[in-house]
C-alpha cells in the first residue's frame, strides 16, 4: 500500500529565499542582538515551524541588507551579503551579522526604502517549484523618500527606482507587466512603526504584505525571535 500511495505524493517542498532588511542605526541594537544570537539556529527553527504546518523546505537562501541613513553617513548607509545558502553557508551569514554594529543614523527618517528597493531587485531563485520570495523589513523609523536624501552620494545605489510609484511598479500587482517580483512567490513582512511609508503606502497598498506595528524609536524590543519566525512561516 505504501508504494501505491507514494505514486500520489507530489512535491510538497518550498524553495524559500529571504532578504532581511535590517535597520542598523543606534536604536536597533536589541533586534540586531536577536538576529545575531539566533543566526545559527535560524534554519533549524524555521524548518521546525514549517514542519508544524506540514511544510518542508527544499532550499533556503538568506540575504541580509543592513541600512542606516544616506543623509547621515553615505559611506556605511548600506552593507549587504549575497544570497547565502543555509545551512551550508551559515558561517558566512553569522560572520556578517556578528560584524554589524547598531550605530549612527542621526535623526529619523532612515534609508529603509533604498534597502527595500535593493531587496526587490535581488537575484531571486527562478528554477525550483513552490518558490517563496520573502522580504522582511526590521525598522523602528520612517523612511526618506526614494531618490532624495543622499541620492548624489557615490555609494547611493544606481539602479533602483527614484520614486514610490516606480518602486510599486517593481513590486507589482495583479497582471502587472512591469513587476520585478514574481506574483506567486513574493511576500513582504514589515516589523515597522505605524508611520509612512510603512503603514498605508506599503502595508495597505502593496499586495501580499503583513505589517507588525512597532513603537517608533524603541528598536522592536517587543518582538521575540519565535514570533518573527512564526510570522515568516505564516507568510509562506
Amino acid at each position: 500500500m505504501t508504494t501505491e500511495l507514494e505514486k500520489y505524493h507530489g512535491n510538497l517542498q518550498y524553495a524559500v529565499d529571504i532578504v532581511m532588511c535590517i535597520d542598523a542605526t543606534g536604536s536597533m541594537n536589541p533586534v540586531l542582538d536577536i538576529v545575531k544570537n539566533s543566526s545559527l539556529q535560524f534554519h533549524q527553527r524555521l524548518g521546525e515551524v514549517m514542519a508544524r504546518k506540514s511544510k518542508e523546505i527544499s532550499q533556503l537562501r538568506l540575504k541580509v541588507i543592513a541600512f542606516r541613513d544616506f543623509g547621515d553617513d553615505p559611506s556605511d548607509a548600506i552593507e549587504q551579503t549575497d544570497f547565502l545558502r543555509l545551512p551550508q553557508q551559515v558561517g558566512e551569514f553569522e560572520k556578517f551579522v556578528r560584524g554589524l554594529r547598531a550605530t549612527g543614523g542621526g535623526d529619523i527618517p532612515e534609508s529603509g526604502l533604498e534597502a527595500l528597493a535593493l531587496a526587490i531587485n535581488a537575484p531571486w531563485e527562478t528554477g525550483l517549484d513552490r518558490r517563496r520570495h520573502v522580504i522582511v523589513m526590521f525598522t523602528d523609523a520612517p523612511a526618506h523618500p526614494l531618490g532624495t536624501v543622499g541620492a548624489s552620494a557615490q555609494t547611493y545605489p544606481r539602479d533602483i527606482p527614484r520614486s514610490m510609484d516606480d518602486l510599486f511598479e517593481q513590486w507589482g500587482y495583479a497582471r502587472s507587466q512591469t513587476a520585478v517580483m514574481e506574483q506567486s512567490a513574493k511576500r513582504l513582512v514589515l516589523f515597522a512603526p505605524e508611520e509612512e511609508p510603512w503603514k498605508e503606502a506599503i502595508g495597505e497598498e502593496w499586495d501580499l504584505t503583513l505589517h507588525f506595528p512597532s513603537r517608533a524609536g524603541e528598536g522592536l524590543e517587543e518582538f521575540e525571535m519565535d514570533e518573527i519566525i512564526e510570522t515568516i512561516a505564516n507568510s509562506l
Binding site: L5, Y8, H9, A185, G203, D207, L210, S235
Partner: protein
Amino acid sequence: MIIPPKPTRVPDHSAPPPPDHLTWSAVHGRLQSLAVWTERRPGHGEDAEPLAAYHRPTENGLLAVFDGSGGSGAAPAWNAPDGATHTGAWVGARIARLAAECWFQGVVAAKEPDTIERLTYCLRALLAAAPTSARSKVTGSMRRLLPTTMAAVRYRTGDEGVRWQAVWAGDSRSYALLPGSGLHALTRDDAHEDDTLELLRQDPPMTNVICADRPFELSVHEGEFREPCVLLAATDGFFGYVHTPAQFECVLLDTLTRSESVGDWADRLRRAIQPVTADDASLSLVALGFADFAQLRAAFAGRHDSVVGGEYLDVPSAADGPDAVRRWQDRTWQSYRHGYERFMPGVRE
C-alpha cells in the same frame, strides 16, 4: 426535511483528544452521498466539517467544503470555553459552513431567495456577528479577518437529469465525475495563475477569499447533466499534493473500484489521502442516478482501467531528476487537460 449524513466510521477514541478524521455516508433511493474530513493536527485543523445536505420534497441538494486560510488568518480569534484558542481561519471556515447551511435551509424550507446575493448576505451577516474575543495587532494587505475558502455545488434532480450550480471563493474546488469522460473541474481557482498544473507546482496566493473585513466575491457556474453523474467538492488537501491533476481522479477511481459500499468508499478515500497530503483535507460527494453502489462502481470500471492503468501513475523516479518529473508532468497534463477543463468556467479578464 434535511438529511444529515449518517456517521459510518468514527475513530475509537474513548475520550479526548479529538479524532484526526471522520467519514460519513448516506443512501436515499438513487442518491448516494459521502463526506470525508481529516486534520493534520487534531483539534487545530482549518477545514470545517464538509456539508452534504439533501431536501427530499424538492429534490434539492448541497455539497460544500470550507478551508480556513491559515496564512492570512493565523491570528487568534476565539478562546473556546475549554480553553483552546482558535485562529481566525478556524472560526471563519465554520461560520461560512453555518451560513451556507442556513442559506440552503432557507431556500428549500422557507422559500427564501435562491440567489447568490442571498448566500453572500448570509455569509456577511454571520461573519459580522462572529466572536472575535482575541484581537491581533497584525495589519497589512495580506491579513484577513476570519478568512476561508468555499466550494459548493447546489444540485436538483429531476426527470430530465441533474441541474447543478457551482459556487466558490478561493482555491477549494468542485468537480463532476462522469462515467464516460472522468473528472471535470466545475470551478476556477481565485488566483493569478490559470493553469492547473502550474497551480500545483507553485501553490500561489489566493486573490479572493470569504472574510469578515474586506469585500469578497462568490463566483457561479452552472450546467446540466442528463446522465447519471457524481458531483463533489474538495479542499486543496485532497487535490493539491499530487504530482499532476490526473492523479486526483486516479485516487477517486482507485478507491471506488476497491470499495463495497459508499461508506467503504469514504473510508478508503480517507486512508488514501491522509498519508500523502500535507494539509487538512475535506471532501463532500454525491452520486446521482445510479441504482445502487454496484452499478455506480461498474459504471466507472472502463474509465478506471484507462486512467489508473494509463501513464498518470508512472512517475519518474527520483534518480531521473526533477527535469524528468517536469517533462512527465507536462506531457501527461497535455493529454489530460482538454477533458479536465471541458466544463470549467472561462478565464477571467
